[in-house]
Symmetry: D3
Subunit: 226 residues, 6 copies
Amino acid sequence: MEQTLFVINPNSTQAVTDAFDAALEPLRMAGGPRIQCLTLAEGPAGVQTQLDVESVTLPLAALVRKLDAEHGAAAAGYVIACFSDPGLHAVREATRKPVLGISECGMLTALTLGQRVGVIAILRQSLPRHGRMFGAIGLSGRVAAELPLDLGVVELSDEARTRERLLHVGARLRDEHQADVLVLGCAGMAAYRGWLQAELGLPVVEPTQAAAAMAIGRIRLNWHGA
Amino acid sequence: MEQTLFVINPNSTQAVTDAFDAALEPLRMAGGPRIQCLTLAEGPAGVQTQLDVESVTLPLAALVRKLDAEHGAAAAGYVIACFSDPGLHAVREATRKPVLGISECGMLTALTLGQRVGVIAILRQSLPRHGRMFGAIGLSGRVAAELPLDLGVVELSDEARTRERLLHVGARLRDEHQADVLVLGCAGMAAYRGWLQAELGLPVVEPTQAAAAMAIGRIRLNWHGA
Amino acid sequence: MEQTLFVINPNSTQAVTDAFDAALEPLRMAGGPRIQCLTLAEGPAGVQTQLDVESVTLPLAALVRKLDAEHGAAAAGYVIACFSDPGLHAVREATRKPVLGISECGMLTALTLGQRVGVIAILRQSLPRHGRMFGAIGLSGRVAAELPLDLGVVELSDEARTRERLLHVGARLRDEHQADVLVLGCAGMAAYRGWLQAELGLPVVEPTQAAAAMAIGRIRLNWHGA
Amino acid sequence: MEQTLFVINPNSTQAVTDAFDAALEPLRMAGGPRIQCLTLAEGPAGVQTQLDVESVTLPLAALVRKLDAEHGAAAAGYVIACFSDPGLHAVREATRKPVLGISECGMLTALTLGQRVGVIAILRQSLPRHGRMFGAIGLSGRVAAELPLDLGVVELSDEARTRERLLHVGARLRDEHQADVLVLGCAGMAAYRGWLQAELGLPVVEPTQAAAAMAIGRIRLNWHGA
Amino acid sequence: MEQTLFVINPNSTQAVTDAFDAALEPLRMAGGPRIQCLTLAEGPAGVQTQLDVESVTLPLAALVRKLDAEHGAAAAGYVIACFSDPGLHAVREATRKPVLGISECGMLTALTLGQRVGVIAILRQSLPRHGRMFGAIGLSGRVAAELPLDLGVVELSDEARTRERLLHVGARLRDEHQADVLVLGCAGMAAYRGWLQAELGLPVVEPTQAAAAMAIGRIRLNWHGA
Amino acid sequence: MEQTLFVINPNSTQAVTDAFDAALEPLRMAGGPRIQCLTLAEGPAGVQTQLDVESVTLPLAALVRKLDAEHGAAAAGYVIACFSDPGLHAVREATRKPVLGISECGMLTALTLGQRVGVIAILRQSLPRHGRMFGAIGLSGRVAAELPLDLGVVELSDEARTRERLLHVGARLRDEHQADVLVLGCAGMAAYRGWLQAELGLPVVEPTQAAAAMAIGRIRLNWHGA
């Protein structure tokens, strides 16, 4: 039986899904689970507020229950591909399959690549929400700082502008906050990872890739919660 | 204009609402805000899982928006009366009025009454969820331990059984974990507060009272978020 | 019987007492406790050093014992209105009534208004003392930074100069340290709270107001230590 | 070019290598890296002391350099399969390939399966060493407790005795320390993972499997340090 | 010029002073500072409450100022020999000479002897006070637990009873809380240090000795605060 | 019998040994232990990488065993004089005599001189390694920041350049990170301590002196591990 890892974009912007779909290509191995990327139809265009987060938790749980029902054991695991890890613990109750969040896994993976983690957010208003997550995971002491790009949707589609801001913010994290590893605090920026790492001379973690990698392990090992 | 503090029970069990309504009586002051206790019609019978938590967040936000719309400035503030603080940060986005959670305020108030906080939960399965909250607030270092009563709904309605368990768990927190202040990790146990405090010789915090007290201050001072 | 909350200024500068007396006006409710502000005659002109702190602890305890003796149950609670919380735990031993400190309550209240707390001190030399307090309360992990105004007594009476420094330091806390809520680290600056909040776009906590609000709740609920 | 992940047992006991070799079988995927398990010839029979740890660090670095030289890019990554993560950061300097430690990865993976991590060590004398590691990773706040099996080599080969101790220690971690996920603090106990999880009703992490899973992701994504 | 280190007992019980005077004998070196032990005349019989702490802070500062005035540079440093470190930071303002506290130095020294520190207090009521100190120093994460002997003054003079309790409490710290180093949380128990260490098989720190040792270094190096 | 404290430079640069040998002169007291400074012949010219650290751990243990064997009880204690504390815990297993590390003791001593510790490293690449140590000791919360001098060996021998960088980095730690005590993160900079303290107006800790002072206490008190 072929197993599938579903990587779900909680926002409804297909371009984001497409971006991480491409970025997950190296994790598609002949003998490993299929990786299927989905876009949550009910999601907002972007998850920018706590209300956006809350608006997708039950739809995510419902989608996962539906996939479980349709695919049975072939639905082997789930990744929630939004850096706010919306509904992570609720979805874990909705299925016995492995469920991983990209914020959680991005941060955990960063701990294996450096000592002081710098996080690059899109929007300033996300910082408190992320701060609560880092506290809940118990990793606040490893976060050098989180700084925002302060880019709106239109600017984000301007690649030159985005690169400029990534460089600026990444350099601040490195030089003012002594970060020695960076995490992209967003599901849609995989295309910049290698470039940013080369420019700054610091390892850069793309969290959707980090989460999918851990999920494949959990699937292959058949590790469910108890 | 008379101001009202709305204290909302996110579960649909009117008996819980009635219990904290009575417990809030001392906070109803002639010159202070009215305190009106509401039961969320859409809520589950009890908030026991993360899915229960998620199921009430948008209804809570909708209710608060509706109260704001109906009452205007007379709707002066909100308390979410469930120890999982469901939707706390989402509701804060839904209104500019003060919004406080009973878990948050119960824990913060406990810090002024003792050094090592012991928390009494109803169910074991709530411990990880509460642990994430304590981490998010940054208070994990002040929590001596949290232990569950392990009481189901039927047993909770048996007052003698509940007292027996409160005493047992409270004494373990005091004697094995060196707690010197206790927090009741539930909105519906106000009736036991004074008795438990006297029995154990430790201050006991009832979190709905703690939150309503802080909310009255915020209302009177007209402190909104920025 | 009418109950009184005594808010005690441990320094002997009446202007500071007058300032927070005015700021507490909104907390005087018809059915609530009276709020009486007192100046500690034995106090120094300002509490600037640890020796200043120590010089007021026993006088504070003596004053509280005297007020308890004179007023009996009508003396319903006490707030120590100095951001170093001098004698807080000693005064708690001197009376069974609620005793709250403005540093403690200002910080705890800030946790309900933001994720990263920036503190504005008057003098640089107070930072280590405040740092010990934040550590003792277990909140260091929530403090983004504390920065001093570096203003002496004369300069503090220059309102324009004070506003200039408050803006400068508050902006540094927001922009360099990512604070999203500020606490005024002094009992005498209530008059600037609303203005600073509006200027910086961040919630600003005035700690004497925060402490008096929590004390009223404790009084009305009749919550003593055990 | 076929890539190989080398999983190196720093002690010289082939039975331990064989045990995790078998446990890694599910992670051998057609399109993924080969997984080859090696035993460090120079290693002690078991890594029980800090001197044992130090005795293998340079040999591990030398072995990794040798494998890099022999295999070039086909040597795709390394796992150090000892719960003391000996030489982890030194080996990371010896190669640009991904290098992961099983203690680090076992703990990080546990954070995705529960809130309070209980760790089962073989020997009491390892606890301080592990405590230093947890502190260095910044995860001490997530560790509910670590308790030793107190089993010597002979007893460890007695499967019935080992099961008895695993159950006893695991139950203490769950019941006295409120752990909700367990980590096996040793590379050689994979055979007990599923059984212990079923017996205790808690997820149990086998750290060599956890590390190999993360390493495969790093290899496929071609994520080196910067 | 001969230099003197003054070790001051803030309580007025000469027997305690005599006990640590004897215990400091090995630190009296021909070429090192004299060590003179003093009893604070104004002190209470024992420092058991926060009010006791506060009652000695100004007398300690006054005594230190008097010794400085009388002896000039020959008064080379000060140790405050009470596990509550009363007035430590105030006395540091009263003199430019090194001033060390036994709680602080006992805990810091313990960190060099083990990973998890168990503290033995005399009285249960001291635990919150000590907890605040450990938080202020930032060491709470290294404290496995603190447990009280629960011995009153009369019982403390009963050596057999004291030994029995030390053994019981020390064993609980070792066996239930995994402490691997112990600190005697009191200035007057030096006579039991070696015996307790031998009985329990854990290093035991006597804090007055620890502080005097560090003070001698500071004196010899002529390290004042800046 | 005359006792000797051996202070061992794990790198092979005699000039470093000579520098701290001179700096330890004040700790040589008539009645105290001799202090003999040694250079590890096998050491690298400088300990700059984790591989450098690992390269000296076994030689250090061997040297200590040899000294123990040659001198018996006259070999009274050991200090490892490199800010990476190489082999500290391994050497503690190799002898029952006191063994102290300069990083550990420098940081602990700094806690008695200020609240926020700024650390001055030589090289940027040492920061993650030091960060792991601070985490392992549990002191990360007390570290304001660590910043590098970014000086290579040649520049370090340029005294004017070194002073310039010390001033610059020390001022950044004080002004941008609110450090109120500094630690020199290197064994070879004792000659700058007093000068830097005077220039910056902050206490500055020289870690080899700090460690030797604590070691003398341990030797005189005859405190071994248990």
